[in-house]
Amino acid sequence: MHITSARRMKNLVEAAIKLLLIASSMVAILSTVGIVASLLFEALRFFGEIPPTDFLFGLEWSPQTAIRADQVGSSGSFGAIPLFAGTMLISAIALIVATPVGLFAAIYLAEYAHVSVRDWVKPILEILAGIPTVVYGFFAALVVAPWLRGTGEAVGFDVSSESALAAGLVMGVMITPLISSLSDDVINAVPQNMRDGSFALGATKSETIRNVVLPAALPGIMGGLLLAASRAIGETMIVVMAAGLAANLTANPLQAVTTVTVQIVTLLTGDQEFDSAKTLAAFALGLMLFVTTLVLNVIALYIVRKYREQYD
């Protein structure tokens, strides 16, 4: 009698605890639902005022809304193409910087470096990943941008003080450790007997890496690059501090461009009237950002996972 009632109590407690655990794991799902719902809801309200085609394909971005109805230039234009182009330009510069540096660093660490060197260099590269982005932004705006401007003047180029190049260069350094650590993992996952086979045929180490290891690791490296690209697209502080506000549609890295994240910040840190198209536009931009990075991440995770299964 005693034992059975105690057991019943225990069952009750255990069931309650289990329920609590399940409930807490729901939070992850709830936050995804919350993100999607809030972005969609506000973005739909925005598209009620501005047609989606104007937003997606418009070439002019100047999100002023009228204070008076008869004001000059009162109808703000919400063509987001210059923002997408600016985001792509800066992310492309970042990837051009980070891919060779990150990849070669990973190759050296995985294939050449002595264990003691590796133990020192890897944590130092990880420091780069741990530094807050606002610090990178400060460095880009106060050191790199003036330096680029000065060098440009000396050579005869006209570099804007808020050039895409400065933001892109610094962002490249920021995502370098992401690329190097992911590439390092996949290079290490390539089985040793593939290298041994290549050496036995008389290949040098670099020939083995170029012709055997890298092709085998390529899908994983591509996945890492996609993840890095999604980081670069979503990065906010560096571009807010070092890239411009003016929406220029240009491919010239020496000029100022603006990005999706910069515009979200500028649209939402000023006045907070929540019904104007101006603030709602930030959510439409946020939706674009979320969808783009989500697609990149899903593809990247898929590639990485599929590749891993090959050698396990």
Binding site: A28, S38, I209, T261, L268, F290
Partner: protein
């Protein structure tokens, strides 16, 4: 025979080129690492050199009279002005006088007020105190304003330099340790601005973030690792967590704005909301680390507990969780360090306002250290750029501390089974 020797000739002929290629390839790797490390070094040194001078502040030993005439009017800056007139009796004319007064910070009067409040018996007496000089004079003393530049291009005029030089000759102006930087909130005047307000804001925000994300993260990890059946539903949760880990941080800010502020009507700029947003952001980091820690506990521990008649919950609570705790805590500290450095989502929920007061509760308006850095970096004054770098030193110092604790914990509690 001739055939094989010609083959080896071909190989020999190519060897030098192939070895050169090998060397070049190796050099690329070293160069890549050198580039990354030297960028890190340049960045840290550049910021360090800029910031160190902000830990000092130019103070002037000023003899002031607590004149009832000014104290009754609550005109504390008037006392400073009277003292300045006495020191430089030759200065006449309104413009020159105004220039003279501007040698001292507009906060010097408030310092006197604080001193007087603590000791009202000072009324009518004359005393000497070290009081803050204005930011321009501070920059001049630190050498950031060049005396040799033409007067019109300089923020400090020749007359002001003459006055400062007289102070220098008298030994009443000097650089002292800048306590105010660590005890004050934000200010429009660089010489009065400090990081304490932002630090307290960061602390409150992190406290909320920890209180939410640590229990939630660990419970989720325990459920997924120890209880969850392998089915579509748990797959969905897992995919969700992996994707949340890669969502741009600014999107979490949009979520906070739309849901916490506009839907639940929580206060803007409050550490409470900031902590909630950061908790959602750090949750995936903590869950992933906690799951790795749980997986590292060998199954034999669980089997032994089951063998003794423990239930599943008892096994987890009494045996698995304590063994996995150091690993979970390490992951949590790293997640907290990320949250401490995060600023983008907090801009969305209004923690970017200009706030002078030190936040006293979770719903007061507050800002956090990285956002304070962002705000100061935007200010045009030369003295603010120095303070921005100094605030970065403080922030990076905290991050190093947190990561160090995590590394030490990992070393100390790491167990190989």
């Amino acid at each position: 025979m001739t055939n094989s020797s010609s083959n080896s000739d071909i190989i020999e002929a190519g060897l030098a080129r192939r070895y050169r290629a090998e060397k070049r390839f190796r050099f690329y790797g070293i160069a890549a690492i050198a580039i990354a490390i030297s960028f890190l070094a340049v960045m840290l040194i550049a910021i360090g050199v800029r910031g160190v001078s902000a830990f000092q502040q130019t103070n002037v030993l000023l003899t002031v009279k607590f004149d009832p005439q000014y104290i009754d009017d609550n005109d504390w800056q008037g006392i400073i002005k009277a003292s300045m007139r006495e020191q430089f009796p030759g200065v006449g004319g309104r413009r020159d006088k105004r220039k003279l007064y501007k040698l001292m910070s507009s906060g010097a009067g408030f310092d006197l007020q604080d001193i007087y409040k603590k000791d009202p018996s000072l009324l009518g007496q004359t005393r000497a105190y070290w009081l803050p000089a204005s930011d321009d004079i501070d920059m001049l003393m630190k050498g950031a304003i060049d005396r040799n530049v033409v007067e019109d291009d300089r923020r400090v005029s020749d007359r002001e330099i003459v006055w400062v030089d007289r102070w220098l000759a008298d030994g009443v102006i000097e650089l002292q340790f800048n306590t105010r930087f660590f005890t004050a909130g934000d200010s429009r005047e660089p010489e009065l601005a400090g990081v304490w307000g932002a630090l307290v804001g960061s602390l409150l925000t992190l406290a909320i973030c920890f209180a939410l994300s640590f229990p939630l993260g660990i419970m989720t990890a325990v459920y997924l690792e120890e209880f969850a059946p392998k089915n579509r539903w748990t797959d969905l949760i897992e995919v969700n967590i992996n994707n949340l880990a890669a969502v741009p941080s600014i999107v979490f800010g949009l979520l906070g704005l739309a849901v916490f502020l506009n839907f639940f009507m929580l206060p803007r700029s409050a550490p409470l909301v900031g902590g909630m947003v950061l908790a959602l952001m750090t949750l995936p980091t903590i869950i992933i680390a906690a799951r790795a820690a749980l997986r590292a506990v060998p199954p034999s521990i669980r089997e032994a507990a089951f063998g003794m008649g423990a239930s599943q919950v008892q096994t987890v609570m009494h045996h698995v969780l304590p063994l996995a705790m150091p690993g979970m805590l390490t992951g949590t500290i790293i997640g907290m360090a990320q949250a401490l450095g995060e600023s983008a989502p907090l801009l969305m929920i209004g923690m970017v306002a200009f706030i002078v007061d030190i936040p006293g509760s979770l719903v007061d308006s507050a800002t956090v250290l990285p956002v304070q850095i962002y705000l100061w970096a935007d200010s045009p004054e030369r003295a603010f750029s120095e303070r921005t770098a100094a605030a970065i030193i403080v922030l990076v110092g905290f991050l190093i501390l947190m990561n160090l604790v995590a590394v030490i914990m990992r070393r100390k509690f790491e167990r190989r089974w």
